[in-house]
Amino acid sequence: MKFKAFLTENGVSLLEKRFLPALDKMGKICHLFLTRDHAIFLHNLLNGDGVQCIAQFRKEALFDDYRISSQNEDRIAFAIDISLLQRAVRSSVSICSEFGSGPSANCLQIKLVKKLPPNCTQPMPFLTFETKGYKSAVIQDVPISKPLSRAQVLELQTSLDMAQDLPQTLVQVPDLNQLQNFVDRMKHVGDVLNVSVSKHGDLHLQISTTLITLGAEFRKLMVIGEQADAPPEDKNLSAQTRAERAVLRGDAQSVQVSVKHFSKSLQCHLAKPDCAFYGIAPQGACLTVIFQFFIPGTHQTDKSISLHCRLPVLDPGS
């Protein structure tokens, strides 16, 4: 089992300034899954009922001279502490910058190693950062879990494949900051958020308790996938009635999620996506948020980066 690669300048800045801060908010520990072509950060795919978060990079987006080999079709996966990873990347950047003009080519190599830490009898696995500066070279060892077994990797791959299912209808949220502001204030009022997404381009959020109903409706959003025209008679209804009727007509789906999860998934805006889409998976299996990244300076999707979250649906009976 071998892995080594050089982090590119672009890769370092993507990780350090954008993705690691966002992923850190998703949870302390994540899985890093490396394949022949991709590096994928995964939260909560194997365990737990929290927000699943999947950040996938094509190897060229982060690395140069990417070499991986394992007996399991060159796939390696392990658990890593995001904040330690972030610290290692951050200090590597400062060392690389000794050159004056920012990180230069091939000054930051990462690789998997097994080392015998002090006061231990057994070697432990590490993700090692070797940084060559102008005057100094620094080696940082980030502890990682034992690499996942063949069965666990298969399980990870299966849940990753399952997580790729796209909702039939996705609506685009134009202003993530506005949404986050709203949800941050809304979460004082209740714990369960009812989310409905319609083919007409409506996103409806509502918290309802015995004492209060608080909701927000965003209309005329861009729709990807199945769409339908809203019946004109719905125009003058209240937001709540409109959403209920759309669900009854089959033009909308609605699920309940935890307000905390919803708010957490919005932290992904730290990765500076260009826009976000909300959709409900078939059969209301989960609420999916897909963040889109453009190639800088264009409006074309950067296919080498993808980030999406899946929010577990609460049992309406509970």
Partner: protein, 304 residues
């Protein structure tokens, strides 16, 4: 559910407000604990929110009709209803987006006697809320405030200084003596217990802090610290920023009235520095009053 959402008759109140944050600030000023029940009273003059505690402390927030950009009142008498203050404030806060003035419409009653709130300034994004109301408890104690004598006993102090003084008096004990004396004109706050702390506002020495003073005889009363703290600790930051004053008046029997002014001006029209003598648009101010009963104490030193 049927599509006909027509109300049978005009609701008691439909009003619109363009500064939600000002409303949140004003109501937050009387929010001294987590779970508080408030009574809201509607009239043709405006909206009054009342909270009280253990028959010793009452607070009122007056939102005059001039603060609203639209105020349609159709009720006979003065409708009153109860809400949870915390829920109401948290809910209003959801409507307030930073850096953007949003217009909300408040309507009472809804089809199920709810308080209905919705944002009305954007067609494509709408926030709405329905708050369950209760039949209000009867006000347990009459807070009729009457002047102590022919001439008022009152002083006006910078809100920031008052808050700081009360905050500082936390450690000595659970009760605070407030004394006024005419010569030399001076207000004294004194806490005794684990040691004592006395804070004097001398009228001539601190004219920038003690703005006005009216007293023709020496008087002093004791008040529970926690009530004085409730009356000052939740002042919104805008009150301090606007450098406003708070007026304290001692009424008959030592009842203390504490009045604060909270700006409900739109952010674009508010002046960053309003000095005390400066012109303050009277119609853009919410009035907040606290009534604090004195501690019953046989040896209260009243020279009146």
């Amino acid at each position: 559910m049927s599509s006909s959402a027509l109300e049978p008759a005009a609701p008691d109140l439909v009003c619109q407000m363009d500064n939600v944050q000002g409303m949140v600030d004003a109501f937050s000023a009387v929010r001294w604990k987590r779970h508080q029940d408030a009574v809201i009273e509607l009239s043709e003059h405006g909206v009054v929110l009342i909270v009280e505690e253990t028959s010793c402390l009452q607070a009122k927030v007056y939102l005059q009709r001039e603060l609203f950009i639209r105020y349609e009142y159709h009720a006979e008498g003065r409708p009153r209803f109860g809400v949870s203050l915390g829920l109401f404030v948290d809910c209003l806060n959801t409507f307030s987006a930073p850096g953007r003035s949003s217009i909300i419409e408040i309507r009472y009653p809804g089809p199920d006697m709810q308080l209905l709130i919705k944002s009305v300034d954007s067609l494509d994004a709408c926030i709405y809320a329905e708050i369950r109301t209760r039949i209000p408890d009867t006000i347990s104690w009459d807070y009729n405030f009457e002047p102590a004598g022919s001439s008022p006993l009152s002083f006006t102090v910078k809100s920031a200084a008052l808050k700081e003084a009360i905050d500082d008096l936390e450690w000595p004990g659970s009760s605070i003596k407030i004394s006024l004396q005419p010569a030399p004109p001076c207000v004294t706050f004194k806490g005794e217990g684990h040691g004592d702390l006395q804070i004097d506002f001398m009228y001539y020495a601190n004219t920038d802090l003690l703005i006005a003073f009216q007293c023709d005889h020496q008087i002093s009363y004791r008040y529970k610290y926690k009530f004085l703290q409730a009356a000052t600790s939740n002042l919104p930051s805008s009150v301090i920023r606007d450098n406003r004053g708070s007026k304290l008046t001692m009424g008959r029997g030592g009842m203390l009235k504490v009045q604060h002014l909270v700006s409900v001006a739109r952010p674009s029209t508010s002046h960053p520095h309003v000095d005390s003598a400066g012109y303050q648009q009277p119609s853009r101010i919410a009035y907040i009053e606290f009534f604090v009963k004195p501690e019953v104490n046989e040896d209260a030193a009243n020279d009146s």
